[in-house]
């Protein structure tokens, strides 16, 4: 019988040793995790370590692999949210912002177009009525001149605004290409801001991913509940400072043109009429910190950037004695009266805050406002205890399953069963090693996938051993029987595993969440089981035959 080439044997051994070494950290999960946290902490602190970090670092030797498999939310506990961003909100903001420009452009053409008036229109559409229909071509041209070209590859060459005439009305809206470009920007911004907010809270490895056109998936391990997470990322946190026109108790009061009627956040039945155009916005903030006012009440102190500081300074200088409103997401937090000129660009927001409120508001203001509101389509909270129970159950099931299969294989195939068992153990180690190395996430269905592949992994060995038995019955010599057994079984092993791999791929491609986790472990399990059942077992069998040189063998 032709033995395997030496380099092949060495290669197989190296892979096995690597698998066992790379899987090992997962057996000591807690220690290795503390070790990794400590080494990351030390690196972040620029190389200096606290005594606790030193202690944690020494729990796991540095020369051994330390990559761990990520535990999914169902195993570690945490919160999962699927949010849909209301991308159309941004169209409205964008279109409303063009109105002053459109008005100015048309004002220059007053001779031709007559009086210009904004007509009521749905959100995201600007409808402007002109009195002189004859001036329409000139008006359209002037408005179209405000449009620029879309700045994406696919939309290149198209203009940002769609300008059409309907009777005496000019209808302006974003072009399709610009809408898509805007959606993309909105999503990118939202992702960035959510990431910043979650990072501010400082939890371990959050997953923040875009899903499809307008969705964001947020998974934060270790957070108490989805409600808590929603409080953090669900608020848009658009902060503005607006001039106050008047204060009223009438919820249906007429605010007047270009004014807004907004409720007070903590005084029931109190409304403020404020100017629509803000003096300064939260975008011009550079810092916000929780603090206390002179009465010891929780407050948030903030600082503007240079342009914000100048605008705020000029405005306060010109309006001493007048009230202005601090508005967060269309609710008035407070409306203090300007006592004096505030030149430095810093200030303090007071309101009816608790310490938690002020801390959270500061986080939100620092991280920036979300460009659009979000709807939550799916939310899941898994408690850490439930996760720990699931890990325990999975571990016990895997252990018992392994023991049963090992005993069963020995009972059925004797010495060859032992060899298959060694291959099986290497297989489980390789799956864990690969999962750790690629940083895949292990979920509860994933553990089930591993346990299942253990059961199925012996299939390849069963195929081979049954073939060897047949060859032996037909009177072949041990070496010949082994060789033919392995070769003949290979096509069946290949076909059956390729179909398994195919379904794993489809699950990964179409599935989400638990299905994906399962697909990853199943797919990796199939790949590694082919390697171990065919190559590792063959190596062991050959080594054994070389060593014992038996005249007859019993499988």
């Amino acid at each position: 019988m032709e033995s395997m080439a030496l380099w092949k044997r060495v290669f197989i051994l190296i892979v096995c040793v690597w698998g066992l070494a790379a899987a090992a950290p997962n057996l000591f999960y807690a220690q290795v995790e503390r070790h990794n946290d400590a080494s990351a902490g030390i690196e972040a602190a620029g190389g200096t370590a606290t005594p606790e970090q030193e202690a944690a670092l020494s729990e796991w030797p540095g020369f051994l692999p330390s990559a761990l498999v990520n535990l999914g939310l169902d195993l570690r506990g945490g919160a999962h949210l699927l949010a849909e961003v209301r991308v159309a909100d941004v169209y409205k903001t964008r279109i409303d912002a063009t109105w002053p420009e459109v008005r100015d452009a048309l004002r220059d053409l007053r001779e031709q177009v007559g009086a210009v008036r904004r007509a009521p229109s749905p959100d995201g559409v600007l409808r402007v009525t002109i009195t002189e229909a004859a001036g329409m071509p000139a008006a359209l041209e002037a408005v179209r001149a405000l449009s620029s070209s879309v700045s994406t590859l696919t939309g290149a060459g198209q203009s940002t605004l769609d300008v059409t005439a309907e009777g005496n009305d000019i209808v302006v809206q974003l072009s399709e290409a610009e809408k898509r470009a805007t959606d993309d920007r909105t999503l990118q911004q939202s992702l960035e801001i959510i990431r910043r907010r979650v990072d501010e809270v400082g939890t371990r490895e959050p997953t923040i991913q875009r899903q499809g056109e307008d969705r964001i998936l947020i998974q934060v391990p270790g957070i108490g509940s989805a409600t808590e997470l929603k409080a953090l990322i669900g608020t848009t946190a658009q902060l503005t400072f607006n001039a106050v026109v008047s204060r009223t108790a009438n919820a249906a009061a007429d605010a007047g043109p270009r004014n807004l009627l907004l409720p007070s956040i903590d005084e029931d039945g109190v409304y403020y009429i404020v100017e629509e155009t803000p003096v300064v916005t939260g975008e011009e903030l550079v810092d916000a910190q929780p603090s206390f006012d002179q009465n010891g009440q929780p407050a948030v102190s903030f600082r503007f950037d240079t342009t914000g500081a100048r605008k705020f300074g000029d405005y306060t200088a010109a309006n001493i004695g007048a009230p202005f409103a601090i508005i967060l997401d269309n609710e008035v937090i407070s409306a203090p009266v300007i006592q004096s000129h505030i030149p430095g660009g810093s200030g303090i927001i007071t309101g009816n805050f608790t310490v938690e409120d002020s801390t959270q508001l500061a986080v939100l203001l620092r991280a920036g406002a979300l460009p659009a509101q979000m709807d939550f389509l799916e939310e899941r909270t898994i408690g850490p205890e439930l996760g720990a129970d699931s890990i325990e159950a999975g571990r016990i099931a895997a252990m018992i399953g392994l023991v049963f299969i090992i005993l069963y294989m020995i009972a059925c195939y004797g010495m060859f069963g032992v060899m298959a068992n060694i291959a099986l153990t290497v297989n489980v180690a390789l799956v864990m090693a690969l999962l750790s190395t690629i940083g895949a996430t292990l979920t509860l269905p994933g553990i089930a996938g591993i346990v299942l592949t253990m059961g199925m992994a012996v299939d390849a060995n069963v195929l081979i051993f049954e073939r060897i038995r047949e060859e032996l019955r037909a009177g072949a010599s041990p070496r010949r029987a082994v060789e033919v057994g392995f070769d003949r079984a290979f096509s069946a092993i290949m076909d059956s595993n390729v179909t398994g791999l195919l379904t794993a791929l489809i699950m990964f491609w179409l599935g989400s969440g638990p299905v994906r986790g399962f697909a990853v472990t199943l797919g990796l399990g199939i790949l590694t089981s082919m390697f171990t059942a065919v190559y590792v077992t063959r190596l062991i069998v050959e080594l054994w035959l070389d060593w014992k040189r038996p005249k007859t063998i019993v499988v």
Binding site: E378, T381, L444, L502, I506, G511, G513
Partner: protein, 323 residues
């Protein structure tokens, strides 16, 4: 001769076609019954597919479903179902229940206030109660999950159909896929019959059943292909019996090792994945049965064109892979 545990004697000569009209008929009846059950009784869809909220409660005093129901009755929740969960892995004083609230018309997910109200109402009944898991899925996402789940099973089936067709003959592909449809359909039927919760992980289980069942079938077909080249004169029916008997030991062996792992998971794996494991268990049993009694029968009915030389494994794309 050393002792070996043998589930199947060394030489068997079972005629798998002797009672083929009984087995085949039983399979067809089971498939029709499953379809009828799914369309009349319906599946007990989880929130993944129907939208809504599930709250898992845990307490160290016994679950009193009636008291829970009464406590929640004052809240306007619509359709609420409460069930106690039992599991051998639970501690002595660990009492778990699942509360399910249906999604309301026009609402994407249950509001945090409502969940808070539910939790507070239950804490009045049982102060030691905790809520280890709260999951809520909006109708929009659940509708999409239904589509993608159906698509996944369909794509899986088509992928397998195509692969078997390329590697074997079209008759084999039809036989394989008929067996797959049988396995998946009857599993779903049993879920409908016992009203076991059907959620996203069950779809993963169904896909795995596809993988397992095809694995099982392909091994027999592989041997059949080999025998077709070897015994040119033997009638197809006899050859199929020979093939099935030759591979019977392996079929039973693999089914039993897989069943061992699944039974262990079923008993010790915890209640969270019990439905998933149960689906897989059914699938393995059905898959083994359909391999022996369904896939081959269909190939026999369709007949194999033996004038053409069957695609030999030596000519396939994997022949140059050296073991």
């Amino acid at each position: 001769m050393a002792w070996r545990l043998r589930l199947v004697p060394e030489q068997t000569n079972i005629d798998f076609f002797r009672i083929q009209w009984v087995t085949f008929g039983a399979s067809i009846v089971a498939m029709i019954a499953s379809l009828v059950l799914v369309f009349t009784v319906g599946l007990n869809f989880g929130i993944d597919f129907q939208g809504g909220t599930t709250i898992r409660t845990e307490s160290n005093s016994a679950v009193d479903v009636a008291a829970y129901r009464e406590a929640l009755g004052t809240l306007d929740l619509g359709d609420v179902s409460i069930s106690e969960v039992f599991d051998p892995s639970f501690a002595e004083d660990q009492h778990v229940s699942m509360i399910r609230i249906s999604a309301r018309e026009g609402e994407e997910s249950v509001t945090p206030q409502l969940i808070l109200e539910v939790e507070q109402a239950l804490q009045v009944v049982d102060p030691s109660i905790t809520f280890p898991a709260v999951e809520s899925v909006g109708p929009k996402v659940s509708a999409e999950l239904v589509t993608s789940a159906l698509l996944a099973v369909l794509a899986g089936t088509l992928g397998i159909l195509f692969y078997v067709w390329v590697r074997f003959e079209w008759q084999f592909a039809v036989g394989t896929v008929a067996a797959l449809i049988h396995d998946v359909l009857v599993t779903v039927g049993i879920f409908a019959l016992f009203q076991i919760r059907f959620d996203l992980t069950i779809v993963a289980a169904l896909l795995t059943i596809l993988g397992y069942s095809v694995n099982d079938t392909v091994v027999i077909f592989d041997r059949l292909r080999e025998n077709l080249a070897k015994y040119k004169q033997m009638p197809l029916r006899e050859m199929m019996n020979l093939t099935a008997n030759e591979t019977l030991s392996r079929t039973i062996m693999t089914a039993s090792t897989t069943l061992i792992s699944l039974i262990v998971l079923l008993v010790f794996g915890g209640d969270v994945i019990r439905g998933f494991v149960f689906a897989m268990l059914l699938g393995v049993i059905l898959g083994t049965y359909s391999t022996l009694y369904m896939a081959k029968n269909i190939v026999l009915m369709l007949g194999v064109d033996r004038g053409d030389k069957p695609k030999a494994p030596g000519k396939s794309e994997f022949a140059n892979v050296e073991a």
